[in-house]
């Protein structure tokens, strides 16, 4: 069992996801980056589950996939509403909460 490779892949995906979530201005791309983060976690779970011969990891991964689907649904709905209201999905312009 080559655990390291999976963990490395997950770490790379995680970093890409974090970068996308922090640096991208397009709301849809930010959502996609968040998916990347979640899936990197999934890879970790499945990898450790297989490594320990324990099904819990896979089960949790399935739960996370289901939750992520719901989350992205809500996220896209919000993005759609922002677009209808402001004709733009640039996150820099969505700063109504400015202190």
């Amino acid at each position: 069992m080559i655990l390291n490779q999976f963990l490395l892949l997950a770490a790379i995906l995680f970093c890409l996801g974090v970068y996308g979530a922090l640096a991208r201005r397009n709301a849809v791309l930010v959502l996609m980056s968040i998916e990347l983060i979640l899936n990197s976690v999934n890879i970790n779970l499945v990898a450790f589950g297989a490594y320990h011969g324990n099904l819990s990891g896979e089960v949790f991964a399935l739960f996370i996939i289901a939750v992520a689907a719901a989350e992205v649904g809500i996220g896209l709905a919000i993005v759609l509403l922002i677009y209808r209201n402001r004709r733009s999905i640039d996150l820099n312009q969505a700063d109504l909460m400015k202190g």
Binding site: A21, V30, D95
Partner: protein, 747 residues
Amino acid sequence: MSLATPMTEVPVEEHGAETGHALVTEMYQPTGFFLENVWIIPAVMAVSFLIILFFGKRFAKKGSEVGLAAIGISWVLAVITGIQWISQRGKVPEAEGSGEHAAGALLAAGEEATEGAEIGINAVVRTITWWSNGGIDFPVGTLVDGLTIMMLFVVTSISLLVHVYSTDYVAGDRRYTHFFAFLSLFTAAMLFFVVSENIIQMIVGWELVGVCSFVLIGHWWEDQENSDAALKAFLTNRVGDVGLLVGMIMLFWAAGTFETLDINRMINNGEIGHTTLLIASLSLLAAVMSKSGQFVLHTWLPDAMAGPTPVSALIHAATMVVAGVYMVARLYPVFYEGMSISGSSINALAVIGSITVVFGGLLAFVQDDIKKVLAYSTISQLGYMILALGVGAWTAAMFHLFTHAFFKAGLFLGAGSVSHSVHSFDMKKEMGGLRKFMPTTYKTFVVSSLALAGVFPLAGFWSKDEILVGTGGWGLFGGTGGNGAYTLMLVMGIVGAALTGAYMTRVIYLTFFGEFRGHGTPHESGKRITTPLIILAGMAAVAGLLNLPAGFITGSHDGWQERFGHYVEPTADYFPAISHGIPSYSLAIVSSLIAFAGIGYAYYYYFVKVAAQSPTATELSSGLTSTNKVAKAGHTLLKNKYYLDHLYTGIITGFTKGPLAKSTYWFNQNVIDRTVDNVGRGAVKGGQFIYDKVDQGFIDGAVNATGTASQGAGQELRLMQNGRVQRYATFLFVAATILAGIFTVIV
């Protein structure tokens, strides 16, 4: 199943060794389809509730036929279950005949032990684990023993008659279907409560019947008065429910299990400390006081008469209000040990019960509303049951519960029949002389009243006499027995008997004698109302024969005497070793004479003196209350129900918003303010000095500096709150990374 092979159980022997008497060393485990599947009975009623609620209006008779069919099935099942129990009970040989059973209790414990073991009969318990959490199992199941069988019979019988009665009484009501749905739900909840096997289930059943009571009292909620009464019943019961929860939780932590019988066994084996049991039993007593209308928390019960009369008969006379009594009986070891019932002469349970007997009875005198008289009478009779449990007369309490259910339901339904024809409950304004118009109602009402007053040989005589015997404080009348010398309770019980006779005589005169004072022509009610009345009056007349005292028929030991006690009272290790009093003729005669004195005095007052004044008179114009100061004061006190309602709404709630607030204000204005003023004046002088030197110079400077600093910091920090989500996310990630680093280093 046909073999009566006794099974030996281990914990039983420990119990016998611990307490020293009632040596039940062998146990017989009864079996039978209906005993094991008793859950069907409440389930039938629950299904009926759902059907009526969702589809009731589509039926030809608006759902009432569903309720009637369901309660009919339940009743038949309850009777079959009862027969099965009796046949199983018969397989256990009686030790030496019930006639000498009581005599055996008199003998020293050691002597009984030499007579050899008595074979006990176990309860039929079926349990499944509902769910488990943190290693604690929450079971759900059924428990059948004699007590359950008795309650099943009482609840289904009264409910069946009330269902029949209601088809006529609430006919044409705007919420007819709804009414029958909730009658079904109530019956289901009550049956669920009596078959419950553990204390969690008991709490659930207890609350369910409370909710049904709330809904049915407020059946005509369009009138503010009715919905207020419903709320009052609900809220007063909540006060007691706190006690119920506290008590049950204490029992759970003390015993480590929810199973009623296991808790009882542990207490009998002395595994739970006395102090714990004392506190638990006092907490549970609060619940009993609210549910079973014991004095100081009884005030909701008379108001609950705002509900339809069949509801009052079923819920507020025969079944729900005895839930508290049932709970004490089911968890009897808790009270028996906790309150040290054995060998004592006073305890909280007996005191509350005896006060309720007398105070409830006195209140019944001043009510003009026929249902309220009956409500106070119910309170008084519930007091008898609690008194009996308090003095250790378990069987007497259960027997009184049994007989009371019949004659009190009969009285309530009779009152309903009267009001159905005169459209009022006011005895003084709208009734009088009804015996000519409503002969059936009149006859059944009189029979039930005599049974209530304890006139030989009707039901009330036997059960009340048994309670008085059980007080054990009757050395005055010869004989011995009982669990202690409860002389005070004996006296209160006898006084209560006299009061009962007197107020029932008053009700009968005001309702059925003299001239009719209302308007219109009253008429006898229909068959569906009078048939239940006749059945209930019949039961009120003969139910007492089920538990003839031992030795009443000389020379015959079993067959006829103490049948009720024989089948209902547990003889297993989950029941405390109570001793039974021996009946005495002189006590029976004296208590009967006192009851007759009560009846006689009221008869003389109403039937002779008031009737002589004028046929429409309701009280003497120059009666005791208008001439004697003390009597008048007493009358006013009773009229105002000992000012308890004033205490609760006027004083306890009013005090916090009225006088308490005012006096606090006064205290504030005159004491605190003046002190403050004086202190202030002195302080001003000192302050001036300090102001000039310390404040302006040093403190102000510091404050100003702090202000400036925080303003500056705020200005800087404000920039962080720039509304850009991604900036926030960056902070989050950075913080998380730093924390992760710290934890990695530390751990």
